[in-house]
């Protein structure tokens, strides 16, 4: 299918513990995005802001007009989107649909989160609010423990090992060390396996950090994209699906059914198969999440994700390079920014701009963004060809 939408500009801030106000961090991502294009902020027709909860982290509700003020946008439609950790990519999908509908020509998509101003224990509590208040929160659930429940089934059914989980973290930190925007550098297998047990079987270095950061994209109609940049990145496919909010309402815990469904939709729309993907950014909030993702996206058979990572099949030079940005584990996970930042990485990879972590000759890229344990999932497929 001929693409209808293209990304014409992309940028992101450093991820980590940042100084500065939310609006400053957000504006920095937009500045870096517009810098490489012929677009000024006054050219933007609409803005979709993905931010998970400045409400609870910063006492700031209604962030979209405040962030628009800080950019000097015209009196255009601006809206905030929230879907837990899938926030950023759902904002992107809403923006893409607005362009596809013909309503807008040039749309700004941003993702931002400022988390480190709160102590970690408060972040743990706040993040748990994305689970069911009646059937999960009364039992002291946290996000590490939700993913630990998934891990326990995968280990039971397929014999996935703590070493295989740790191999995901080692790989992603090896790549984040090559990413100047990333929060963390390298870790060894021994460091992962001896880090503090958070929620068995997940240790501290099986978990993504708490981060600040922002990312932004400008999207345009595909046929007009070359007005703004020499190398647009076309959106070939977009899929979004849901699964139950709570794990206990699912018949199986060894896959995320919404990942499978969103991927199927995106592959069909793009006219590609899993084997055609050259580079993928998947949602590795925990090490087990990447193992589930590489299986559910169709890169490896169910139950073989752990072995694939351990054998190097998800590294550059392997069958399918996964999370060469460092992923959420190494690069950081400012919640609302994550889905947008995954697309910034794919934009740069497909344009050959990723330096020492470049996947040689990458033509088709995929992003996979998960809200909660899969209550909302998006999958997007991109290419420099297709305009």
């Amino acid at each position: 299918m001929k693409a209808q939408v293209a990304i014409v500009g992309a940028g992101m801030t450093q991820f980590g513990k940042l100084k500065g106000e939310m609006r400053e961090i957000h504006a920095e991502a937009v500045r870096l995005t517009l810098e490489d294009t012929s677009i000024s902020a006054k050219d933007i027709d609409a803005m979709y802001v993905g931010t998970w909860t400045p409400d609870l982290f910063l006492n700031q509700l209604f962030p979209a007009p405040m962030l628009a003020d800080s950019l000097g946008l015209n009196n255009i439609p601006v809206s905030r989107v929230e879907d837990a950790c899938a926030t950023g990519s759902v904002a992107f999908r809403q923006a893409a649909m607005a362009v596809m509908s013909g309503l807008h020509r040039l749309v700004l998509v941003t993702g931002v989160e400022v988390m480190t101003q709160r102590p970690t224990r408060e972040c743990v509590k706040t993040i748990a609010y994305a689970s069911d208040r009646l059937w999960e929160q009364p039992f002291g659930i946290t996000f590490p423990s939700s993913y630990a429940l998934l891990a326990s089934r995968h280990m039971h059914k397929y014999g996935t090992t703590p070493e295989q989980l740790a191999a995901v973290s080692v790989k992603n930190h090896r790549y984040s060390a090559k990413n100047p925007k990333a929060q963390y550098g390298e870790v060894t297998l021994e460091q992962v396996l001896s880090s503090k047990m958070v929620s068995w079987p997940l240790r501290l270095l099986d978990c993504c950090p708490i981060s600040d950061g922002a990312a932004a994209l400008v999207i345009a109609r595909a046929e007009e994209a070359k007005k703004y940049t020499d190398t647009p990145v076309y959106v070939l496919g977009s899929g979004q699906a849901r699964a139950s909010l709570s794990l206990h309402d699912r018949p199986s815990l060894t896959s995320i059914p919404s990942t499978k469904q969103a991927a199927e939709t995106a592959y069909r729309m793009a006219g590609v198969e899993a084997g055609d993907v050259d580079v993928a950014e998947v949602h590795d909030c925990f090490t087990i999440a990447e193992i589930l993702a590489v299986e559910d996206l169709g890169f490896f058979k169910k139950g073989e994700g752990g072995k694939a990572v351990e054998e190097g099949s998800t590294e550059i030079g392997g069958k399918i390079p996964v999370n060469v940005s460092g992923g959420l584990l190494g690069k950081g996970h400012p919640i609302g920014a994550t889905g947008v930042a995954q697309m910034v990485e794919i934009f740069e990879q497909l344009r050959g701009e990723s330096g020492s972590r470049q996947v040689p000759g990458a033509e088709i890229g995929l992003t996979h963004n998960v809200g909660g344990t899969g209550g909302v999932v998006t999958v997007h497929i991109f290419s420099v060809k297709g305009g």
Binding site: W135, P138, F139, G140, P144, L149, R153, S246, H248, L253
Partner: protein, 135 residues
Amino acid sequence: MGAVSEFWDKLKGEKKLFALKCRCGAVVFPPQPSCPTCNGWEMEWVELSGRGEIYAYTVSNIAPPSFTGKLPFCVSIIKLEEGPMVMSIVETDRPEIGMKVQMVLEEKRNLDIPDENWRERPLYKFKPIPAGDSA
């Protein structure tokens, strides 16, 4: 107002778990306002045995502030005898997948929620059924 609220009243009053049974035959637990299988709205309460087995588990070493005094503790997904699954705490140091468990009631649990009428409520948890005990 509605089945979801009624569940907690029944737990408090009768000290047992109840599920909703839809006219289509589906057993809905935890209760929902409508049947997820057929989208019907006519369901009636059925008593559950409170017995099941651990389907998935973790041992948490971190928790929201109102739970930190109880660390570490085992959070599980329990497959109930009647079929549905539920999340709960299992009072054991040695959880295993397949371990048989039985519901126990914690009479009063102070939950960190805004609704004053609901803040203090009984909470269902589970404990292992000793081997050889078929009750």
